[in-house]
């Protein structure tokens, strides 16, 4: 048998080349790009963009339409405005837009303006939700506030309620026990479809059972008023958790307290920051009793440390060093009086919800007075503001509380040509008060650090104080624009 030389050459060559290719593939790196691969097929990254339409929900006349509660007639003043040119960072100069107030399920136009800086305001006495809506260049930075001011005996008091962005999950801290202390939870649905809302109440002794199954349906562009006393009768320290399914809602807790024959006041508790282990209640006005209500929605007892963030820095009262909040329960702790404006910092090992209650009372007579609820709020990021319509002759103070680092903010008092602009530095863990004088609106643009704030309004009416605190929350400015991509299957 002769040797098959060509065949062996053939097989040998194939084996050699194959081995060479394999070895080469492991040794040589690098690649050829015939096209540039794109992570998202050429789409833009997600970005924040200025809104071209924004709306805020105001509860409307709070004191009407609650089943089982006495209607209190009256007119609330709703005001909406968009900030001056240049306040919203990144917004193009000029541009037209509108700001409008719309009332009720038929979106009746209450007031409208196309002038930048003009405050659109209207009074409403109807039990309807009021929606402030801005379009076009006016949409970023829209701010709306609702003011209820009532003189007289029982129903007297001042409520300055910032209108809110709707959300699906609202914590309301406020209310208390006792006869003639009434709380109304006003839930508004700004959407075009009915929303199902469930209300849970946490109390001193844990979750309030009767309220567990409470669920209501709110028609489009409507509001429902629920009496908290019906949900949680005789609860001394209620905290209400409103959750919506099938849409988003805005909710406030309107509280009126008449102790015996003494009108103690009236106020709206607005949305508190979601449960967190690090909370700051900004702008607690002193001058009367102060207490802090903590709620622990979790299933583990929380150990909290409460500090006062004063104008001279953080102060740690000894008996607030360790506060135990039982699981699923609420707890009111008294805050020692302090001469200056302050904020309250809460750190805990479990997420908590918090708000501070402050009070001003007459020193004479039956010591009538007024109180205010100030919720813990998230830090400000963009533009925040409060409008103060029809509050001439009152003392208005802007209270800014910084977090663990020093913060700076640009503060605008008033708008248009008469606006006073100043830069306010807030040291770390401190609170700074700025006198707002007779400004019709207060705008805050944080420029450095984490900052929270509130505007307090106080005055005397017939020797009896009236008082309210409106916390600052971010105005709708930008939205996260998520790129959309079409896929074929």
């Amino acid at each position: 048998m002769t040797t098959n030389v060509p065949g062996m050459v053939r097989a040998g060559a194939v084996a050699l080349v194959a081995a060479g290719l394999a070895v080469g593939a492991t040794r040589v790196s690098g690649s050829v790009q015939l096209a540039t691969p794109g992570g998202q097929a050429g789409l833009p990254e997600s970005s924040t963009v200025l809104l071209d339409e924004s709306s805020l929900v105001c509860p409307g006349q709070q004191r009407l339409g609650a089943t089982g509660l006495r209607d209190v007639e009256g007119t609330v003043t709703v005001a909406a405005a968009t900030p001056d040119q240049g306040v919203v960072a990144g917004a193009p100069a000029g541009g037209s837009g509108t700001v409008a107030l719309l009332g009720g399920s038929s979106s009746t136009g209450l007031a409208q303006s196309s002038d930048r800086g003009a405050e659109v305001s209207a009074g409403t006495a109807a039990p309807d939700v009021v929606i402030a809506r801005a379009r076009g260049a006016f949409a970023p930075g829209l701010v709306a506030t609702q003011v209820w001011r009532h003189g007289g005996d029982d129903d007297r008091g001042l409520t300055v309620t910032p209108c809110q962005l709707p959300s699906s999950d609202v914590w309301l801290v406020g209310g208390g026990g006792g006869p003639s202390r009434t709380e109304r939870v006003i839930v508004s649905n700004p959407g075009a479809n009915a929303v199902s809302v469930s209300l849970e109440v946490l109390g001193r002794g844990g979750p309030v059972d009767a309220a567990g199954a409470r669920s209501i349906s709110i028609p489009p562009l409507s509001r429902e008023v629920v009496s908290l006393d019906a949900l949680a009768p005789d609860e001394a320290g209620p905290v209400v958790h409103v959750t919506a399914t099938g849409g988003v809602v805005s909710a406030v807790l309107d509280e009126q307290w008449i102790l015996g024959a003494t009108g103690r006041g009236i106020d709206d508790a607005t949305r508190a920051a979601s449960p967190s282990t690090d909370l700051v209640v900004p702008g607690v006005e002193t001058g009367g009793g102060i207490s802090l209500r903590l709620a622990n929605p979790g299933s583990t007892e929380a150990l909290a440390q409460v500090r006062l963030l004063t104008d001279k820095g953080a102060v740690q009262p000894e008996d607030l060093r360790a506060v135990r909040v039982p699981a699923g329960s609420t707890l009111d702790v008294a805050i020692p009086s302090n001469p200056a404006a302050l904020g309250v910092g809460v750190r805990s090992d479990q997420p908590l919800v918090a708000a501070a209650w402050t009070e001003r009372r007459a020193t004479t007579g039956d010591q009538m007075g007024d109180f205010a609820w100030t919720p813990a709020t998230p830090a400000l990021r963009g533009v925040a503001g409060v409008l103060l319509p029809g509050l001439d002759g009152t003392t208005k103070r802007l209270l800014l509380t910084a977090g663990s680092a020093p913060a700076t903010a640009q503060v605008r008092l008033g708008s248009g040509d008469s606006a006073q602009v100043s830069t306010v530095d807030v040291p770390a863990a401190s609170t700074v008060a700025v006198d707002a004088k007779d400004a019709k609106g207060v705008w805050v643009v944080p420029t450095k650090g984490t900052l929270r704030g509130a505007v307090s309004v106080a005055g005397i009416d017939g020797g009896v104080p009236f008082f309210s605190v409106a916390s600052l929350s971010d105005a709708p400015v930008r939205a996260l624009s998520v790129p959309v991509r079409q896929v074929r299957n």
Partner: protein
């Protein structure tokens, strides 16, 4: 026994016989012919050798032959100087014979130079001739020159219409089956004994028929004149048929001779039939020639068809025919119908034709050749020559012991085991929608949906596109159409999905089968081919490809063996065009799924075109042109974007396996394998490389082995390089894409195919060694090689069966809400917007009745057409707008439903919840479903129940009524009632749609309103029929493709068996 002639009596019968031998360049046979004459038991009295201008040594042989002169007293040679036809030559011979006293007892025996009469032939003929005075002509049994047991002719058999019937067929074994024949219409002049008086009576040969048809005409006229023509089975003449077989120098080609013979037979028939019948007969001849010619053309017998058609030329010489008829009038004594029994009965002719057809189309049995040889075995067979052991086994036993069948069966078992989980989940059930996952997208459509996606000018998912769609859709559509013939499949929610699932499931089985068949081009050993097929069918690359839902890889795996074998056949001398066309068709299908292989086939065909000799170039041209032309305009896009040539639907990957383990997996033919199973491929690689060293039996085979090696290396190089060529990006999940390149498996398939060529070639020496153990070491090596080949392949198949196909493919992904499917496929034709939010991007699918992309492909830049849609979706999912949205933009786009794959408490779900015009229908595991409110109706308009694809609006754009659609992308065929004022039909399609759609109202074409955001057409206020047709893109191309496909399929389908094709 019929051949054994009765012993001659030796007594001279009452009659004289003169012989004529016609010689024309017959040197090869003449001596034997004369020998035969000399050996006659009854030698003729005189012999005239008519030499028709022979230019060879015939004349010398005739002069020098002493044997014949010894036997026959008078031998005369007549030399004709010019070429004379046979009739003239015989006439010349007869003229040279003296006229006896009694012409009725004088006979002339005519022989050709290539005939050898058996010794008693003349005696037998004469005896038969003398038996009756009426016999004018007697013909012998003409048998084959080489094998006297095979018949050539026994009298001329002809139908009434002049069609000659080969009865007996040339070469038919003589078992005495025609020996009953006596009276015939005519006999061949070869060995013909003619009574001199009869010859003189009819005047010899007619001048019109002296060459072809001379014998037929002579016999016919003899019969008409009352002289019987008989055939004498006892008289046997061996005939070399030198003229017909083309062995005689200087005569036309055999085919031409046959054609002339056929034509002459027709002409004789026209000349001798009844004058009344002649015109009808002429018409019949023309018609039947035409019909049979067309039939034969359809049966792909172009030569036979041409032969049939030349029969018509018999009608082209009417004057010659009329002249012959005029000349024959004198001698006609009998009525023509007296000859009726001499013609072949129509029933017999028909039966013969049917037999021919049956013979041509019945499948050839593998032992046909041996059986044919046995037919001439007439005697008893020795018992030991056909013992029972050698009898063919029964059919079931043959099937069960067939290695190819066993390989296919084994793969079927392994496949079923591997698919057990999927089958249990209903992957193959027609009640489900098939499988999806990996590269395969969920699909819910049918054959028509896929066809529209391929053919329509405006097609595709979402808002659609006018770009050229892939021809793989047409292939899948055809497969689905076939599958829909199976009961139950057509009723499936997604017959296409079910078909694709079955295709994936059956791929290993089909690939095994195709590899077994294709392996024949390398070796005929069934065992080796079965092993190779098993290795191919269960190859890791196929298993991985199927597990990842790569339909293209599956198709390639099935067809690649055929394509490679087809190219091999085309390059071989014995290749056929049928095979080449079939290969071209398979190449086109492979190319439709895997463009890189199309490119490779083009290169291979070009090489063959340049290097191949002779007809191979023509076949290479077929392989070069046909696949490209079949794929049509789709191929043109490769020019614009070469990346597409390197990718393909379901052929890209975003996984980087360039590391050493990845390289090893590629080399071992198991891409993606991570376990020890990867090493099961190693023996095959080693054996494949070693097998390439096998000594080729011919130079062609050596070249083939070299090509196999080159193919393997090309494949390996492609597999290793594909990961380094970035083609772009492909979607990897919701909102994510990653760098994409060609899947290495395509190269691995080629590498494996090349190695299998080596394995099959190397099997030959191994099997020889096993069958005939010679040297001890050689035998041991063969056993080791066989074990090395068999064990890992079986282990690999078993391991695959045990491990299963993985969890990438799953069942029931293509589940859109029933209500959306119902409205989407109904007259509303609305769509479902499916949102898949992620942190970075929201992916959306606009699902309508149009199927989406079946397989993952490279990302393309979004079409500009989609801008309104993208804006509407962007607005919906967030961004600049407020929380309270308006859904009219969706309704305008014909979106009837929105489904979000998110939880109810996600921001997007809440956003949709609070949007005007959206109402939540429910929540399922697939997401939350919202219904979109239809656009409000105008005053007096008909309110819609849901958004629709086509709508009739008034001048203000308010809805008048819904226009029902009848097909994908707003195809409409409906009657519109009369309206009052100006009205418009608006289609929820992108603006570019109107460039492709043909919109007509009562037959008049409507033009789109310029500047409208959506295609809008002004419709007259009268009642009328509105038609919207999405005419095929490039209709001429499509028509051409269709015709070409028909032609290629026609050419690719073998008609009749190989035997019958060889015969033509």
């Amino acid at each position: 026994m019929s051949l054994s002639a009765p012993p001659s009596t030796g007594q001279r019968p009452n009659g004289t016989v003169d012989a004529i031998v016609v010689v024309h360049n017959g040197a090869a046979w003449l001596a034997q012919c004369l020998d035969g004459l000399a050996a006659q038991t009854l030698p003729p009295a005189r012999l005239v050798i008519v030499d028709v201008a022979s230019s060879d040594t015939s004349n010398a042989i005739a002069r020098a032959h002493t044997g014949v002169r010894r036997a026959i007293p008078s031998v005369e040679i007549v030399r004709l100087d010019g070429r004379a036809p046979i009739g003239r030559a015989i006439d010349a011979g007869v003229a040279a014979l003296p006229v006896g006293a009694d012409a009725s007892t004088s006979w002339v025996w005519v022989l050709h130079d290539d005939t050898v009469p058996r010794a008693n032939a003349l005696a037998q003929l004469l005896q038969a001739g003398l038996r009756s005075k009426s016999v004018g002509v007697a013909g012998p049994k003409i048998v084959d020159w080489d094998d006297p047991r095979r018949l050539v002719e026994m009298g001329i058999q002809i139908t009434r219409t002049g069609r000659r019937l080969a009865s007996p067929a040339r070469g038919e074994a003589d078992q005495g089956q025609y020996d009953h024949r006596a009276d015939v219409l005519a006999v061949s002049t070869s060995g013909m004994l003619v009574r001199r008086s009869a010859y003189d009576d009819i005047g010899g040969f007619d001048p019109a028929f002296v060459e072809h048809g001379a014998d037929l005409d002579l016999g016919w006229r003899a019969q008409l004149a009352g002289h019987r023509v008989i055939v004498v089975p006892g008289a046997v003449v061996r005939d070399a048929s030198a003229g017909i077989d083309g062995e005689r120098p200087g005569v036309p080609r055999p085919r031409e001779l046959e054609r002339r013979g056929r034509r002459a037979a027709r002409q004789v028939t026209l000349a001798r039939c009844s004058p009344l019948a002649a015109p009808f007969l002429a018409v019949w001849m023309a018609l039947s020639a035409l019909v049979s010619s067309v039939t034969l053309l359809v049966a792909k017998r172009p030569r036979q068809a041409w032969r049939e058609l030349t029969d018509v030329s018999a009608l082209l010489h009417p004057f010659a025919t009329l002249g012959a008829r005029w000349r024959g009038r004198r001698t006609k004594r009998l009525r023509r119908d007296h000859l009726g029994t001499l013609f072949v009965a129509p029933a017999v002719a028909a039966r013969t034709t049917i037999d021919h057809i049956q013979d041509a189309i019945t499948p050839e049995r593998s032992r046909a050749r041996r059986e044919a040889a046995l037919t001439t075995e007439t005697g008893p067979v020795a018992d030991d020559s056909e013992s029972l052991d050698h009898l063919p086994a029964s059919l079931p036993r043959r099937i069960v012991s067939h290695p190819g069948f066993l390989a296919v069966l084994a793969v079927l078992v392994a496949t079923t085991a591997a698919w057990r989980d999927a089958i249990r989940a209903g992957a193959l059930s027609p009640t489900n929608a098939g499988v999806a996952g990996g590269e395969l997208r969920p699909v819910s459509t049918d054959a028509s949906g896929l066809w529209h996606a391929f053919r329509d000018a405006w097609h595709g998912a979402g808002l659609g596109t006018g770009a050229e769609s892939g021809p793989h859709l047409a292939v899948l559509s055809a497969l689905t159409w076939l599958a829909e013939r199976v009961p139950g499949v057509a009723e499936s929610r997604s017959s296409a999905g079910v078909t694709i699932a079955w295709l994936l499931f059956l791929t290993p089985v089909l690939a095994t089968w195709s590899a077994y068949l294709a392996g024949r081009v390398v070796t005929s050993s069934r065992v080796a081919r079965a092993l190779g097929a098993l290795a191919w069918g269960t190859a890791g690359v196929a298993a991985t490809g199927i597990a990842q839902g790569r339909v293209g890889v599956a198709v390639v795996h099935v067809l690649l063996p055929f394509v490679l074998a087809g190219f091999c056949l085309a390059a071989r001398r014995d290749g056929t065009f049928t095979a080449s066309f079939a290969t071209a068709l398979a190449t086109a299908v492979v190319g439709a799924f895997a463009p890189p292989l199309l490119a490779l086939s083009v290169v291979a065909a070009l090489l063959l075109l340049v290097l191949g000799p002779g007809l191979r170039r023509a076949r290479a041209l077929v392989l070069l042109v046909v696949p490209t032309a079949l794929l049509g305009p789709w191929v043109a896009q490769f020019v614009e974007d070469a990346r597409l040539l390197l990718s393909g639907p379901g052929l890209v990957t975003t996984v980087d396996d360039r590391g050493p383990s990845g390289v090893l997996a590629h080399v071992l033919g198991e891409p993606g394998a991570t376990s020890w199973a990867v090493w099961l491929g190693a023996p095959l690689v080693v054996l494949g490389v070693l097998g390439l060293a096998t000594r080729g039996r011919s130079r062609a085979e050596s070249v083939g082995l070299l090509v196999g090696g080159v193919l393997a290396l090309l494949g390996l190089a492609a597999a290793l390089l594909s990961g380094r060529v970035v083609l772009g990006s492909a979607e990897t999940g919701v909102g994510q894409s990653a760098t994409a390149h060609l899947w290495a498996g395509v190269g691995v398939q080629l590498w494996l195919a090349g190695l299998l060529v080596g394995v099959l070639a190397g099997s030959r020496p191994v099997l020889e060694s096993l069958a005939r153990p010679g040297r001890r070491w050689g035998f041991a090596a063969a056993v080791a090689a066989a074990a090395l080949a068999v064990v890992p392949v079986l282990a690999s198949a078993a391991s695959w069966g045990v491990q299963g196909i993985g969890h990438t493919l799953s069942v029931g992904q293509a589940t859109l809400p029933a209500v959306a499917i119902e409205q989407g496929s109904g007259p509303l034709g609305n769509r479902l917007l499916l949102l898949r939010p992620s942190d970075d991007v929201v992916d959306f699918v606009l699902a309508g009745q149009e199927p989406g992309e079946l397989l993952r492909d490279l990302d393309r830049t979004p079409d500009a057409d989609d801008a309104p849609l993208v804006d509407a979706v962007a607005n919906l999912v967030g961004g600049r707008g407020a929380d309270s949205l308006d859904s009219t933009a969706l309704a305008r786009l014909g979106v009837g439903f929105v489904q979000v794959r998110a939880t109810a408490d996600s921001a997007l779900a809440r956003r949709l919840d609070s949007s005007g015009g959206l109402s939540r229908l429910g929540t399922s595991e697939r997401g939350i479903l919202w219904k979109v409110q239809p656009l409000p109706a105008a005053d007096g308009g008909v309110a819609a129940t849901a958004p629709s694809r086509a709508r009739l609006v008034d001048a203000d754009g308010a809805l008048l009524r819904v226009v029902p659609t009848s097909g994908p992308h707003a195809a409409v065929d409906t009657m519109l009632p009369a309206g009052k004022a100006a009205r418009f039909v608006v289609l929820a399609e992108p603006a570019e749609w109107s460039q492709q759609a043909l919109v007509t109202f009562d037959g008049r074409e409507l033009l789109p309103v310029a500047g409208a955001a959506q295609p809008t057409y002004a419709v007259p206020p009268t009642a009328g029929e509105l038609e919207i047709d999405l005419a095929a893109a490039q209709p001429w191309w499509r028509l051409g493709q269709g015709l070409l496909l028909g032609f290629v399929v026609f050419m690719a389908v073998p008609f009749g068996n190989r035997r019958s094709r060889r015969r033509t």
